[in-house]
Every structure is written in structure tokens, then in C-alpha cells.
């Protein structure tokens, strides 16, 4: 009993050291105005940890959330959130066709990719996402956006979930990024 508990503690404590981290790299993140609307386009690279990649190739579907917030800075008070978006994807590996299926959960759209890199890039990058009308931006105030890409641990199968709470292999480093909206 004591031996098992000791093993459990050591196993959990050593979890961060066992696997390489998942990394998010924001190559570009641009907001622009077209027709009095603010749009966002991003070029983001995503690399999964070895453990997450193994899980994916073993048939475990991974869900990712892209959270985007547009906020206005308020002096001496918490900032005001103007818009909040969440885009969720499910990424799965199709053994039969040796392809990666990317499904956008809000719309149900599916796309297949022959390699993981393209699938992750397609999932992480945004193109022409309308954030808000320009009229909602107040002059003289600082507005900024925040984007966070994360792996949804709660969507993992239960046995992995418990382990994922304690392991960095299931976390994405550098997943959060802020930019200023001018």
C-alpha cells in the first residue's frame, strides 16, 4: 500500500519531466479594418508533445479551444470585455486512410489532412475573423485583443484526464498572446 502510494506520488511529480512540451508559436497576428469592421487573421504554428501525438495516433481524439477576447482598458478598474469568441476543434487520426480529420465543433465542418503539421496549422490559424464593428471602439481608449489556444483536458478520456491534470505534456506552452487593436 505504502509502496504504491509512493510510486503514485513520484509518478505524478515526475510527469512534467517525462515528455516534451506542446508549443504554440504565433508567427503573425494581425487585426485590420474592412468596411467599418475589425477583422483578425493569424498565422500560428502548433506542435504537440510526444505523448499527445502518441495519444492522437492511438485513436484518442484531441479537442482544442481557441479563445479570443477583445477588451477595453479601464483606468483603476478591471478592463471591460467587449467581445468573446471560442472556436473549438476536434482532431482525430484516421487509421484507414492515414489522414488527420479536423472538425470544427461549432459548425460541424470537417477537413482531412494528409499530415499532422497541416492539420494543426489549419486549426490554429485564423483567417478574416470578424471581431467587432469599429463603432464599438472608443477613441482615446486602449483596446487590445487576447488569444489563447489550449488543449481541452476535460474532453480527454477519463484515465488520461487524471494524469493530464498533473502533466505538462498535455499543456500548450505559449498558448496565450495579446495584441493591440489600433
Amino acid at each position: 500500500m505504502r509502496g504504491f502510494l509512493l510510486w503514485l506520488i513520484v509518478w505524478m511529480a515526475a510527469a512534467p519531466l517525462r515528455a516534451e512540451d506542446g508549443v504554440v508559436s504565433y508567427n503573425s497576428l494581425v487585426s485590420y479594418v474592412v468596411d467599418q469592421r475589425v477583422y483578425l487573421s493569424t498565422d500560428v504554428s502548433l506542435q504537440l508533445s510526444g505523448l499527445a501525438r502518441s495519444a492522437l495516433e492511438s485513436g484518442v481524439a484531441l479537442e482544442f479551444d481557441t479563445d479570443i477576447e477583445v477588451s477595453r482598458q479601464v483606468n483603476f478598474w478591471p478592463d471591460q470585455t467587449l467581445r468573446r469568441y471560442q472556436i473549438s476543434h476536434r482532431l482525430s487520426y484516421q487509421e484507414l486512410t492515414r489522414s488527420y480529420r479536423l472538425e470544427r465543433l461549432q459548425t460541424g465542418d470537417r477537413v482531412s489532412f494528409r499530415n499532422l503539421k497541416d492539420a494543426l496549422h489549419s486549426m490554429a490559424s485564423l483567417r478574416d475573423l470578424m471581431l467587432l464593428p469599429v463603432s464599438e471602439l472608443k477613441g482615446g481608449k486602449r483596446h487590445y485583443g487576447r488569444m489563447e489556444l489550449s488543449l481541452d483536458i476535460d474532453a480527454l478520456p477519463s484515465p488520461l484526464r487524471t494524469q493530464a491534470y498533473f502533466s505538462r505534456a498535455w499543456k500548450l506552452q505559449g498558448g496565450e498572446q495579446e495584441w493591440r487593436i489600433r
Binding site: G59, Q94, L160
Partner: protein
């Protein structure tokens, strides 16, 4: 008080039972879910979170309860509360009893779980799934090859056609070869012409990889997934051998995959991936199962500890109640009643305790009443003993006085504190009546006689007195003695006085009568024969004169005795004693042998009811005695005082006559009031006897003493009129 505590404990006990039921149900549910979920990954996934939350929550609650109980027990142990050590032992025993089997079951459960999960995996199954997947892939590849051949035929059909004829031809071959879509693209991938079974426009840009590979001379075949989830086969071919206009153009043909083949392939893929997923999660699954089971064990252990605390307290409650009751009874609180117990042995014990306390209380009440009665009797006896004129002393077995009544204290002239607890042996070394009594009594205490009596003559500050002392042992041998003594000096004195009065009366009667004829006869003889005798007449004259003188003297003596023996009729009147004393003293001051007589009379003294004649005689006797007491001095030295005094809380007049002569002989001090008792060569010895007689006639008291600085002192205490 005990009942209210029980009420509180009952309510908390009900809460504890409810909590215990919740824990029990939670444990059973957890084990049920764990048992069921072990059959499949999906079930485990659904139940695991619930199990973790419920067991975690219950563990925290039970842990807090256990901690509270442990802290309480430690506090009770430090305070040394009754039953706390037994509670600790019970808790440890119960915990040990419950944990040992739980740990054994847990160990085997973990082993079974791990082996159970391992049994899900099998090399043959894995190989079979691999083979099935390979077959599916081969089937898919075969279909792709067929589509490739069809696409080649389409390419050959289209390669020589003019642009205008392309679209109708493409529509024809579309249905002929079962294609879904045919697209002709230029080098940049832009659509030149297309034919499709649906109304949607084709993708305007071709896949770049497809374009590059096809233009490099390679054929392209790929499976793509449609929005509806079905699979298509995409084939790409280049026109390199046709008309010049077609060179470099790309033919893209999309075929729908065979539905049945697709369905079977999808099933194989799902099964394979499910198995792969299980294989990947093999260890985490074991860990999760074991973790959940460990949590259940932890909850079970904590619940066992908590239940052990509850049970121990439940068992110890009657013991603690009994201990509290016993302590209260030991401190004298017999009103304590314990709550009635049940029908078990503890109940019997509690009921017996209550019965015992009731009996004790009843006995104490009876004892209290008896003690009150005894106290009352003792107080009554003490009052009786205290008020009697007989002296009473009790001694313990070692001869130390334990009690002494007021009469004894008065008779012996001692203080109570100088007597109680001080042995007679120590008292013998002192002086006074008490020392003399101790000296006389001590031999009797050591003697065997249980009752003894002795007449004792004790010399004290009040002179020599006679006591009749009786002693007896108290109860059994060794418990002590009681001494009873009476001062019989006044009785003896009264007897002597009565005897002397009788003697005086007889003397007066028997002697006085013949004296007159003797005197008359002597005078007649002298008168008739003195002239006739001549020279012998002178002898006659001397002899008859002597007879007459002696007869006169005898008459005086007889008169004095007669006077002492007579009881005259007293004429009482309210007189001022100061004036009387001053008058009499003044008479003696005028005498040649009067000497110095000091007179000290207090002012405004109250009147006295007295016979002035008898009192004048009293004063004469006292002053004559004092004057005659001068020894070798030329003149007498006398002090006479009259003051107001208090005796036994009553006001009285104190008349004191003091001389500075030799004082009263100590050996006759107790007898100086008797007739004929005198230390002087002359006198009848009746002076003080008459003084005493007069004092008694006036219901006064007289004391004689020899002051320490010499001389003799006579003190009279007389009642006075109310002022």
C-alpha cells in the same frame, strides 16, 4: 444536568447516524460503480469523475470529523477525563479490526484490477486487428487502382478533344465511369472545364501537392473525406502525350467510394483504433482504477476510524456518566441521579448506582437527624452541666482534660485554656487549687478502681478549701475518666457555725447563771469578814477582788458568746454606708492607739438596705482586729475603702479593710470565721465570726486574703439599692 447532556448527545447521535448512512451508501455506490465501470472504458469514464468527487468530498468531511474526534480525545487524555484511556484503546482496537481486512481486500483488489485490465489485451487480437486493417487498406487500394484505370481511360478520351467539346464529353464519361466529378485544370490549377453530379462548383484551386506531383509525371490517387463523412477517391493525371494544347493540363477525377466497402473499412478502423486507444491507456487506466480504489479505501479507513470513535464514545458514555455520578457522590452530592439505562449490563449498573445513592441519601438523612438529636442532647447536657454548682471534668485516657464546666473553673480559679488538653502531670508542677487537685487525682487515674471518692483540702488564692471529689472511668477501660467535685467548705463552715452557736448558747446558759451568786457571795464575804480579820483582811480583800474581777471577766465572755449565739431582730433601713463607715473610722482616729487610718470612699454611692447597729458592730470588729494586728510597729497602718464593684455581672458595694500586719495564718485561713480561732494572745476569737454572721444576715459575701505585699485584707461585697 445529566439528562440535558444526554439530550444534546442524542441529537448529535442522530446526526452521526445520518452521516454514517450517507458514508455507507456512498461507499456501496462507489464500489458498485467501480465494479461496473471496470467492464468498459466508456462506463469508467462516466463514473470515474462522479466517484472521485463523491469519495473526495466524503473523505474530506470524514477526515475533518476524525480530526475533531482525535483532538477531543487528546484533550480528554490530557485532562485525565474518566474513560478517555479506555476510549483510546477501544478506538485503536476497532480501527485495527476494521483496517486489517480492508487492507487485505484492497491488496487483492488492486491485483485483480491490474490483471483484469491486462486480460483485455491479447497479441492475437492485436494481430488480427492489424490484419483486418491491412485487408481494408488493400481493398481500398484495389478500388483506387480501378479508379486510376478508369481515370486513364477518361484522360485518353479527353486528350484529343477540342475545348468546345470537352464539357459534353466530360458529362458523358462522368456517368459512364461512375465518377462524381471531373475537373480539367491548367498548370496553375485553375479550372478549365468540369462536370459534376451535384450543383456545387468545384474547388477553384487544386491541392498544391497533387498539382506538383502530377506535373512531375507521377499519377495521384488519394482518399478524401466529404463533409457528410463519406469517402471519395481523388485521382490526378497529367496530359503529356495528347494534343499540344492539352500538354501540362491536369485531369482531376473524384469517385465516390463503394458504400459497403467504406462501411466495412470504417468498422475495422473503429475497432482497431478503439483497441489502440485501450492499449495506449492501459497504464493510465490501471492507475486511475487503483487511484479510485485507493480513494475508496481511504474513505473506508477514515469512516472506520470515525465509526470507531463513535462506537467507543457510545460504549464509554455510561462509564463516563457513572464516573461523573461517582465523583459527585464522593464529593458529597447525593442528589445526583443518573439517567436510567437500558436493559443491558450498563443499564443494570446505572440503575444499581441510583439505588445505592438513594439508600446512601436516606442513610445520611437518618444520620443527620440522629446527629441533630445527639447535638441537641449534648447541648442540653452541656447546659445542665454548665449550670450546676458541681464541678465536672472529663479526662481522656492519658489524663488530659477534655471538658470542664463553669463551676469547676470557678472553683479551681483557672482559665479554660490553661486546662483543656494539658495533662494533669504537667498541671502538678504548677501552683494553686488546680495543681493541688491534679496532684490528688493523678494516683487514682492509674489505679484499677473504676469508681473512687476522696475529700481533698486544697490551698488556693481563696484560702484552704475542702472538696469532695469523685472519679469514675468512662465506659470501657481506656476511654477516659470523669471527675465530679463539690466545694464543701461552706457546708463544713455552716456546720461549724451551727455547732459553735449551740456551744455559745449552752455556755451562756450554764456558766452565766452561777456567776452572779459567786460574785454576790464573794462580795458578802468580803463585806462581813474583812474588818474582822485584821492583818488577814488584806488577803481577804485581794482574794475577793480577784474573784469578782474574774467573774466579771467571765460574764463578759459569756455575754459575748450569748451575743454571738443570739439572732437579734434586725431593723433594716436604707442607709448611706459611706456616712456610717466615715463615722466609725472617725471614732478610731480619735483614740490614742488609733494609728493611721486611710479612708477612701467613692462619691455618690448608692444606699444600702441594712441594720445600722449590726453594721456598726461589724465595722468595730474589723477595725479592732486591724488595730490589734500591728506587730512591731508603734502605730497601726490601716486602709479602709468603699467602692462600687461588679461581681458576676451584678453591681455591688465593695468594702475593704486592710492592715499591714503579719496577715492571717495560712493554716487557719479556712477556719478564721470559727469562734475561738485566733492568732492573738487575747480576745475571744469571736470578732470575725460575728463579722461573718452580720454579712450573712445582709446576704453579702466576705473574703479574706493575704495580699502579696503583706498584711491582711478583709473584703465585703454588699448588695445596694437601685440608684
Amino acid at each position: 444536568m445529566a439528562y440535558s447532556v444526554m439530550d444534546n448527545k442524542t441529537s448529535s447521535g442522530a446526526l452521526g447516524v445520518v452521516l454514517m448512512l450517507v458514508v455507507f451508501v456512498s461507499l456501496l455506490s462507489s464500489l458498485y460503480f467501480l465494479g461496473n465501470s471496470a467492464e468498459s472504458l466508456e462506463r469508467f469514464g462516466r463514473a470515474n469523475d462522479l466517484l472521485l468527487v463523491i469519495n473526495g468530498l466524503m473523505s474530506v468531511i470524514i477526515f475533518v470529523l476524525v480530526a475533531m474526534n482525535a483532538v477531543r480525545l487528546v484533550r480528554e487524555l490530557r485532562q485525565g477525563l474518566a474513560g478517555s484511556r479506555l476510549t483510546l484503546r477501544l478506538v485503536l482496537m476497532l480501527v485495527l479490526m476494521s483496517l486489517l481486512p480492508a487492507i487485505i481486500v484492497y491488496t487483492f483488489s488492486v491485483r485483480f484490477l491490474r490483471s483484469g485490465i491486462d486480460s483485455w489485451f491479447n497479441v492475437q487480437i492485436e494481430q488480427s486487428l492489424d490484419n483486418a486493417l491491412d485487408i481494408s487498406r488493400a481493398s481500398l487500394a484495389e478500388e483506387q487502382r480501378e479508379f486510376m484505370r478508369s481515370s486513364e481511360k477518361i484522360r485518353l478520351t479527353l486528350r484529343t478533344l477540342e475545348d468546345a467539346s470537352l464539357v459534353p464529353a466530360m458529362s458523358d464519361v462522368l456517368s459512364a465511369y461512375g465518377a462524381r466529378e471531373i475537373i480539367l485544370r491548367d498548370r496553375q490549377g485553375l479550372v478549365i472545364a468540369s462536370a459534376s453530379l451535384n450543383l456545387y462548383l468545384p474547388n477553384m484551386r487544386v491541392d498544391q501537392e497533387l498539382s506538383e506531383r502530377v506535373l512531375d509525371g507521377q499519377s495521384w490517387v488519394s482518399v478524401i473525406e466529404r463533409q457528410d463523412g463519406n469517402l471519395d477517391v481523388q485521382v490526378g493525371l497529367a496530359f503529356n502525350d495528347g494534343v499540344v494544347e492539352r500538354n501540362g493540363q491536369i485531369l482531376e477525377v473524384i469517385y465516390p467510394m463503394d458504400a459497403r466497402r467504406q462501411e466495412l473499412g470504417q468498422d475495422v478502423q473503429d475497432t482497431f483504433q478503439h483497441y489502440q486507444q485501450l492499449t495506449f491507456m492501459r497504464e493510465p487506466l490501471k492507475t486511475s482504477f487503483v487511484f479510485t480504489l485507493s480513494l475508496v479505501l481511504a474513505l473506508s479507513a477514515l469512516a472506520a476510524v470515525w465509526i470507531a470513535f463513535r462506537l467507543a464514545r457510545l460504549l464509554m458514555r455510561p462509564v463516563q456518566t457513572l464516573a461523573a455520578g461517582t465523583r459527585a457522590v464522593a464529593e458529597g452530592d447525593l442528589s445526583q441521579r443518573l439517567p436510567p439505562g437500558g436493559k443491558d449490563e450498563f443499564g443494570y449498573l446505572l440503575n444499581s448506582f441510583n439505588q445505592m445513592v438513594r439508600q446512601l441519601q436516606s442513610a445520611r438523612d437518618r444520620a443527620s437527624i440522629s446527629q441533630g438529636e445527639v447535638e441537641q442532647q449534648r447541648a442540653y447536657l452541656q447546659a445542665v452541666v454548665g449550670s450546676i454548682s458541681t464541678g465536672v471534668m472529663t479526662l481522656d485516657q492519658s489524663g488530659r482534660p477534655r471538658t470542664i464546666n463553669s463551676a469547676a473553673i470557678d472553683m479551681l480559679g483557672v482559665d479554660r485554656v490553661d486546662v483543656i488538653g494539658i495533662s494533669l502531670e504537667d498541671a502538678r508542677d504548677k501552683t494553686g487549687a488546680y495543681a493541688a487537685l491534679a496532684e490528688a487525682v493523678a494516683p487514682h487515674l492509674d489505679a484499677d478502681a473504676s469508681v473512687w471518692q476522696e475529700e481533698l483540702h486544697l490551698n488556693g488564692a481563696r484560702g484552704r478549701r475542702t472538696f469532695v471529689c469523685r472519679g469514675s472511668r468512662l465506659g470501657e477501660v481506656g476511654t477516659g475518666h470523669v471527675l465530679v467535685f463539690d466545694d464543701i467548705s461552706p457546708i463544713i463552715r455552716a456546720q461549724r457555725d451551727a455547732a459553735w452557736s449551740e456551744v455559745a448558747r449552752r455556755l451562756a446558759h450554764e456558766i452565766k447563771n452561777p456567776l452572779t451568786p459567786i460574785q454576790l457571795s464573794a462580795e458578802r464575804i468580803r463585806h462581813r469578814y474583812m474588818d474582822k480579820l485584821g492583818e488577814d483582811g488584806e488577803l481577804m480583800d485581794r482574794a475577793t477582788r480577784t474573784i469578782v474581777q474574774q467573774v466579771e471577766s467571765m460574764k463578759s465572755m459569756v455575754n459575748a458568746f450569748a451575743e454571738y449565739a443570739n439572732t437579734p431582730d434586725l431593723a433594716f433601713a436604707e442607709i448611706d454606708l459611706s456616712d456610717l463607715v466615715a463615722d466609725v473610722v472617725e471614732l478610731y482616729r480619735g483614740l490614742p492607739s488609733g494609728g493611721r487610718i486611710g479612708l477612701n470612699l467613692a462619691d455618690n454611692l448608692p444606699l444600702v438596705r441594712a441594720d445600722s447597729g449590726r453594721f456598726r458592730q461589724l465595722l468595730h470588729n474589723l477595725l479592732k482586729n486591724a488595730l490589734e494586728a500591728k506587730e512591731n510597729e508603734e502605730e497601726a497602718n490601716i486602709d479602709v475603702s468603699l467602692q462600687l464593684s461588679v461581681i458576676d455581672n451584678e453591681s455591688c458595694l465593695k468594702l475593704q479593710v486592710r492592715d499591714y500586719g503579719p496577715g492571717f495564718p495560712v493554716d487557719t485561713l479556712d477556719r478564721v470565721f470559727e469562734p475561738y480561732v485566733t492568732s492573738k494572745s487575747r480576745g475571744t476569737g469571736l470578732g470575725l465570726a460575728i463579722v461573718k454572721q452580720v454579712v450573712e444576715e445582709h446576704e453579702g459575701e466576705i473574703e479574706l486574703s493575704n495580699p502579696a505585699d503583706g498584711g491582711a485584707c478583709v473584703t465585703l461585697y454588699l448588695q445596694h439599692m437601685a440608684s
